[in-house]
Symmetry: C2
Subunit: 362 residues, 2 copies
């Protein structure tokens, strides 16, 4: 008998990953929308290569460290993040000497910083103008401001105005309904594109999308590409949000029951240093993840290395030493806490795969 895997660890099912990638690739092809998956979810060159092979036009990253890693796998990288400081803009300009690099920016400061570094090394960085479509995180606040920034970029040597960028991360829990929120996103994009058009500017790329809105992307006709991340693995956020089912969750945390000393409770060895403290966004009271073998169990509390599991509603009780399977609330930060994952193909012995861009925070 083979020894169990040391826990806590991350197991990823290849078959489910393949299905998740293919399903969205088919949808994107059917609706003629380009797919540029956000690799911040998995931080893995292996998974990025699978996405590119299934037809993705390029890759998305948040940080420059991720861009440097993913540029080893893809030739066309979008940094969906406003880089503004010298260390970051310099590294991006260097990367743009050999790869297609685009950056989403929402300020002239960021645009000028990138332009300066690009000119210094004799290259060009593509710019998408980030417009706020309702999340109020980044993005210029109006179509007029988007026009002004686009004109600024268009005039700047070292930059190439490639299009428009938005992140509709607010749509899925919109109290006035997703359809209404999507229509507002479409309206903001349409107004901005019309304004650009009237001032002689073109948006070759209109980039949007997220996992929750991925299969509604065709309803926003202005979009040319989408950047979902989580869909490749899924998690309890996407399950409880109604965007997939439990069987679509490719990533699981294996964990061991290490204590049953407190009545009606067991303790697992996966705490917030494994599962993170992220609550489930569509169901904040559902606890810290879902235990596959014990659907009636609930994880009300995490400390750094302990999950306290309420087993009072479980007909059979987890035994000390037993290994259980957790689907985490939010898979993206969980991947970032592991150095490697176990890659499971059918019944074969899983292989360890390095998480290439783990911890690349800058």
């Amino acid at each position: 008998m083979t020894e169990p895997l040391a826990t806590p660890c991350l197991l990823i099912h290849r078959d489910i990953v393949r299905q998740n990638i293919q399903r969205l690739a088919d949808y994107a092809a059917q609706h003629e929308i380009d797919l540029r998956p956000h690799t911040k979810t998995h931080k893995s060159q292996l998974l990025a290569a699978m996405q590119l092979k299934a037809g993705a036009v390029g890759l998305t990253v948040a940080k420059v460290g991720e861009a440097e890693v993913m540029a080893r796998t893809g030739d066309d990288i979008l940094v969906a993040y406003p880089t503004v400081d010298k260390p970051r803009t310099r590294r991006l300009a260097r990367l743009a000497q050999h790869k297609t690099i685009r950056v989403a920016v929402d300020s002239t400061v960021a645009a000028d910083a990138l332009a300066g570094e690009a000119r210094r090394v004799g290259t060009t960085v593509g710019i998408l103008v980030d417009v706020d479509v309702g999340l109020h995180r980044t993005g210029v606040a109006s179509s007029n401001l988007a026009l002004a920034l686009a004109q600024h970029v268009d005039r700047a040597a070292g930059l190439r105005l490639d299009g428009l960028f938005c992140y509709p991360g607010h749509v899925w829990d919109r109290p006035d309904g997703q359809a209404h929120a999507l229509a507002q996103v479409a309206q903001t994009l349409a107004e901005t594109l019309d304004l650009w058009w009237r001032h002689g500017l073109e948006a070759k790329i209109v980039s949007g999308g997220s996992t929750p809105t991925a299969y509604q992307s065709h309803l926003i006709r202005e979009l040319s590409e989408i950047r979902p991340g989580t869909y490749v693995l899924n998690d309890m956020n996407t399950v409880r949000g109604g965007f997939c089912s439990l069987s679509d969750c490719a990533a699981q945390i294996l964990s061991t029951v290490v204590s049953n000393a407190v009545p009606n409770q067991v303790v697992l060895d996966a705490g917030s240093k494994t599962l993170t403290s992220d609550l489930c966004r569509p169901a904040p009271d559902s606890g810290h993840g879902y235990i596959v073998e014990y659907p009636d169990a609930r994880i009300p509390a995490l400390t750094e290395e302990h999950a306290q599991v309420d087993i009072s509603r479980c007909a059979t009780k987890p035994q000390i030493g037993e290994q259980v399977t957790i689907i985490p609330n939010h898979i993206c930060p969980c991947m970032n806490l592991q150095d490697s994952f176990w890659w499971q193909e059918g019944d074969a012995t899983p292989e360890a795969v390095r998480i290439d861009a783990r911890g690349m925070v800058s």
Copy 2:
């Protein structure tokens, strides 16, 4: 002019670390309590060595991976965690061949697993019996159960009964008052020790303590040693809990303002992949960390790589591109998200130091 550090990054001030270590070392010496700092906070051999040099009797860890790292710096390691599975117990037994290894356990299953592996390699593992003093996370539920487990350990070849263990992590936010909670901890320990004594068993070590209760440890006369972790660095949990002041916080996250596109808000490049989603335990509504340069700012929302900062109450506004300093809510999981920290001595250029046990989850 030197280039600014790439952000987000972790800066640790050596002078403050030294003061924090010395202050608690002095207290422990004064009250003749042994100090065995929990290294899960810093995961750094450098900081562990400073603690040992200041008189710590040994080091505490949560996970076996941490034990393996810290055993390169210290000879006496307490694993304050119930190891039960084969991968972990086997590795600990190997470690015990060359170092003093103790483990806190709360079940015969864990004791037997460790005994079996210890016998297999011809060594002995020291055992502390974990008794629940009110947190209800791990620990046997009564003095009688603690006696039964101690007798089991005492009979087992491969094990050495070294004492009693508790974690009074519930004391600091006890509604009926800390003094009352501390008295209850003392009572549980006294009852258990008396019962052991009457059955011919001795507890050479009685291990307790945490940062919030550290300076009250002498009020629990039964304790022979304490295991505080956070005190070496401190964070907003310990500041807002009233256990230290802002100037005692040795660890800071440097972060850059990357967007100011949304009115009354700036966005910092430190999100939950840097600060974690941990709220401040004594003040859950205080936001995601404290910005030193802008005490009137508040961080109400984090996403993975963005901190949204409400600056409506700031007299002067942070500028895009500006670097700011954040004291995180909970430093322990933040350390675990960085590969290295910047070690600052006075005005010298900071040096990069590897975080040796980062990511050692099993």
